[in-house]
């Protein structure tokens, strides 16, 4: 049985992060190494923000992206993923989705969210980046599409977009989820 890990785009390409948000030059090597050690297949999901907001976009909260047009964009990106994940499950593979906690779109357990804050770039990021429990917009849409299959899928968020990001902690969390999926 194969474990297939669908990674947030930026874990293999930090160039897709919001302006000032890249934590490495390109590939986040620890996650690749860990998945390789466990024999997992790696697949890269699209970044829902990149082609919509460009590479010079600033950080934002989920509410800013929560528009009809952006939801349609996310649905267009999520549909082929959902179809492939269903096919993976049907052939007996295990599926793990790895999102980015703190992201307004790719968050899993934590997402950037605020009723009144609007991603003002005139404030340093570390002074004001509101995060709440809940999934990001794209993650939510993908899991809704997967509906009855969602309980068979492990979903985990790596906290790269959290201000208290701790690489060792996040790697331990990811390692545990991938091991559970074996």
């Amino acid at each position: 049985m194969t474990t297939i890990c669908y990674l947030a785009h930026c874990l293999l390409n930090a160039n897709s992060k919001v302006d000032e948000g890249a934590r490495c030059s390109g590939v986040w090597s620890p996650v690749v190494g860990m998945l390789r050690e466990r024999g997992a297949v790696i697949r890269q999901m699209p970044c829902p923000e990149l082609a919509f907001g460009g590479t010079r976009r600033f950080w934002a909260v989920r509410e800013q992206y929560d528009t009809r047009a952006f939801r349609a964009h996310c649905e267009r990106l999520a549909a082929p993923l959902a179809a492939q994940i269903r096919a993976d499950l049907e052939q007996g593979d295990r599926v793990v989705i790895v999102g980015i906690d703190g992201s307004p779109t790719m968050g899993v357990e934590l997402t950037a969210s605020s009723d009144d804050w609007g991603g003002r770039p005139d404030k340093p990021l570390d002074e004001d980046y509101p995060v709440r429990p809940g999934a990001g917009l794209f993650t939510e849409i993908l899991l809704v599409m997967l509906a009855q299959d969602a309980p068979r899928i492990r979903v985990v968020g790596v906290g790269q977009d959290l201000l208290d990001y701790d690489e060792a902690r996040e790697m331990a969390k990811l390692r545990e989820v991938v091991a559970d999926a074996r």
């Binding site: 785009h9 293999l12 390409n13 930090a14 160039n15 897709s16 992060k17 302006d19 000032e20 948000g21 890249a22 934590r23 490495c24 030059s25 390109g26 590939v27 090597s29 690749v32 190494g33 390789r36 297949v41 790696i42 697949r43 890269q44 699209p46 970044c47 990149l50 082609a51 460009g54 590479t55 010079r56 267009r76 990106l77 549909a79 082929p80 993923l81 179809a83 492939q84 096919a87 340093p124 990021l125 570390d126």
Partner: protein
């Protein structure tokens, strides 16, 4: 501020780079060490309903990088997805900055 360590250099790679067969060269680790970000083309055997939309999403993202002045290079494999990608990118009116061959 967290700073930003992005390389502004992207390699579009076939699935065989991200998931090399046993005993094959690990190009991904080398590319990572060199600072490249990676856009992975779709794996072989995608379900038909996903195949075109998967490529379309990749092309949209690569066009964004090209239009914003990032260096985008295609690491060409002998898989059909590399050729499909090149054709789709040309249809979008763009091209990569260069190509590299993947040694065995």
């Amino acid at each position: 501020m967290r700073g930003d360590g992005r390389s502004r250099r992207i390699l579009v790679v076939p699935d065989s780079v991200v998931n090399p067969a046993d005993g094959r060269t690990d190009h991904l680790s080398a590319f990572a060490d060199e600072g490249w970000g990676v856009v992975a083309l779709g794996p072989p055997g995608l379900v038909p309903v996903a195949r075109d939309a998967w490529m379309e999403a990749i092309v949209d993202q690569v066009v964004t990088f090209i239009d914003d002045g990032y260096l985008v290079v295609l690491a060409e494999g002998d898989d059909p997805e590399s050729e499909r990608f090149s054709r789709a990118l040309r249809e979008a009116g763009r091209d990569v900055s260069g190509h590299i061959d993947l040694p065995e």
